[in-house]
């Protein structure tokens, strides 16, 4: 039953119920079929041979199979080959370009670094100058003035509490 040109029905898998022709017998287990399914290697257990047989040679082209099956009223599955799209290749930079890139980066880095340093130094100098000018004295005075202000009410409170307690 299993021979080249025999019509078969596939009974297993996504192609179950689809007809095809045996194109080649690979060994005692596998055959090659074509037709309503795509051209594929198939296990003999997954097909059911039919009574019909057509005259085709071993390993015929897909077009010939299509012609032969068209007479029987079977439509062959036609798979359009996908149009090949070329992927844009990632361009590698030449060593010279890389050098230029590095230099540019360095320049930018240097610019920012200098600016930061200058800003910091300026701020520090100003602060120190102000302190020298007399802010430091003011601050010291303020601190001195504040401390007694804070301390005095505490004493008052404690004293008042003590007074209350003594009263009680």
């Amino acid at each position: 039953m299993i021979e080249v040109g025999r019509l078969v029905v596939k009974i297993a898998g996504r192609d179950a119920g689809k007809k095809g022709v045996i194109i080649d017998v690979l060994d005692d287990k596998y055959i090659l079929i074509d037709g309503e399914t795509r051209r594929r290697k198939v296990n003999i257990l997954h097909i059911e041979p039919l009574n019909q047989k057509i005259d085709i040679k071993k390993n015929v082209s897909h077009e010939d199979v299509a012609k032969a099956l068209d007479e029987l009223g079977l439509k062959v599955r036609i798979t359009k080959p996908k149009p090949k799209t070329q992927k844009p290749k990632a361009k590698r930079k030449t060593p010279e370009q890389l050098r230029v890139q590095k230099e540019e980066k360095k320049k930018l880095r240097d610019i920012f670094r200098h600016k930061k340093k200058e800003q910091k130094s300026e701020v520090k100098q100003e602060a120190t100058l102000e302190e020298k000018a007399g802010l430091s004295e003011e601050k010291k005075e303020g601190a001195k003035a504040e401390k007694p202000v804070e301390a005095k009410p505490k004493e008052k409170k404690t004293s008042s509490k003590k007074a209350e307690r003594s009263k009680e």
Binding site: V9, I11, G13, R14, A16
Partner: protein, 88 residues
């Protein structure tokens, strides 16, 4: 007394052994019965066992096998059916 929302039977109850050698009552979502073959009654594989509202969110290709009678017949019954058809 359990919380009011747990007093209905819309959740199934299971007993779980929890740390401390204690058995506690826990509540789980109900699940429908697994899908069966229309011919022989075998449990179908490749079909998720989820509530209908969850099935709606799953892609069609993940809900049944991609073959004739997929999700209706088991593969064995489908093969037999195809053989019978071919031998007629």
């Amino acid at each position: 007394m359990p919380a009011p929302r747990l007093r209905s039977r819309s959740l199934r109850r299971i007993f779980r052994k929890v740390p401390g050698n204690r058995v506690s009552l826990q509540y789980r979502e109900k699940k429908p019965k697994p899908a069966k073959c229309g011919n022989c009654g075998a449990v179908l594989k490749g079909i998720p066992r989820e509530m209908p509202y969850r099935m709606r969110g799953i892609a069609k290709t993940r809900k049944r096998p991609e073959r004739p009678f997929g999700g209706v017949l088991c593969s064995r019954c489908m093969r037999q059916k195809m053989i019978d058809k071919a031998r007629q």
